[in-house]
């Protein structure tokens, strides 16, 4: 069977995304279990996975709601967590062609994982790999959420199973690669030099803990976003 470069790209994207899709299915299961436990209906959790398709932001919104925070606070926390997709989208933009709808589809399927898999180095991105990887990860995320919603009703109180600790552990796992030095390969374009991400993480955690006793739920998370102002202290440009 002969296979053109396009088919090869789709196939490569799907294959590269497979281990990620398995993990994402697990996240989806946790979200499907935890979101209803945080006060969202199962239907709302599933629709959110279909439409928002951004794990950490969905967990953040759910945990703000679960802690009794206001809707606006939950939205703000989720939107701030997803703010990184603005520059990520810009990095991919030169490689996306076609109609508005095609580009919207690529944009929707662009998450951290599919973006990383689609990177070909030196700022090049393969839109077909992005599409194939994004589609498998999206499918895993949505199926996982549905499974979690159904499964969650069977297993009952997630706290008994320690699922409330799964939240921070998951965020820690998502955080770790962002504070590691990754100045090569796929992330070269957006990599931050030095320890700035780690400093922002520590400052963000400190702000959140200090504010927790004094502010409504959710506010400490949003306020922690101010730690990104560390980025104003630019090191000398390295061009």
């Amino acid at each position: 069977m002969s296979e053109g470069p396009q088919e090869r790209s789709y196939r490569h994207g799907a294959r590269a995304a497979l281990p990620l899709a398995v993990a994402v299915f697990g996240f989806g299961l946790s979200f499907g279990v935890l979101a209803p436990a945080a006060g969202m209906s199962g239907a709302a959790a599933i629709v959110m996975s279909i439409t928002t398709f951004a794990g950490s932001a969905q967990f953040a919104a759910a945990s703000v709601l679960g802690a009794g925070g206001a809707a606006a606070t939950a939205i703000l926390a989720a939107v701030m967590l997803n703010a990184r997709y603005l520059p990520i989208g810009v990095t991919v933009a030169p490689w996306l062609e076609g109609s508005v709808w095609t580009r919207l589809l690529h944009a929707h399927l662009m998450v951290d994982e599919s973006w990383a898999v689609a990177a070909e180095g030196s700022g090049r991105f393969n839109p077909r790999v992005l599409l194939a990887a994004g589609a498998s990860i999206w499918t895993a995320w949505v199926l996982g959420t549905i499974g979690g919603v159904v499964f969650g009703n069977v297993i009952g109180d997630p706290n008994r199973l320690g699922l409330d600790a799964a939240f921070p552990a998951l965020f820690l796992a998502l955080l770790a690669p962002q504070v590691r030095d990754r100045g090569s390969g796929a992330f070269r374009g957006l990599s931050l030099r030095g320890r700035l991400p780690l400093a922002a993480a520590l400052l963000g955690a400190a702000i959140a803990l200090v504010l927790t006793p004094f502010t409504p739920a959710g506010v400490p998370i949003v306020a922690a976003g101010a730690a990104c102002l560390l980025g104003l202290r630019r090191e000398p440009a390295t061009s």
Partner: protein, 105 residues
């Protein structure tokens, strides 16, 4: 939390997320953001994720407490350090926390 508020969160977050993802591909036509702005936005991820870790580990409503979650997240941190798969990390955190609670009665 009212049903209306939950659906408002779902819909507004979904629209806002797609807007953030699609802004570059639809509007900018590949023009990069000023480096200063990119630097700020990219630091938001670590700052907010770390805040979520801290609050998820230590906050009980508006109180700060040390309970079984600290053990679970601590074990998760070790597993992440050892480059364990994310799924295993999450399962370990839940299992250790559940185990500590069971032992504590």
């Amino acid at each position: 939390m009212s049903t209306t508020a939950v659906w408002a969160v779902v819909i507004v977050t979904g629209v806002a997320t797609l807007a953030l993802k699609a802004a570059g591909p639809l509007l900018l036509g590949g023009r990069p953001l000023p480096e200063r702005v990119t630097g700020l936005v990219t630091l938001l991820g670590p700052a907010l994720l770390a805040a979520l870790v801290a609050i998820g580990t230590f906050a009980d409503g508006q109180r700060l407490v040390i309970d079984a979650r600290v053990l679970g997240v601590g074990v998760a941190a070790v597993a992440i350090r050892l480059r364990a798969p994310v799924l295993l990390v999450v399962v370990l955190a839940a299992a250790v926390t559940a185990g500590a609670r069971a032992l504590n009665g």
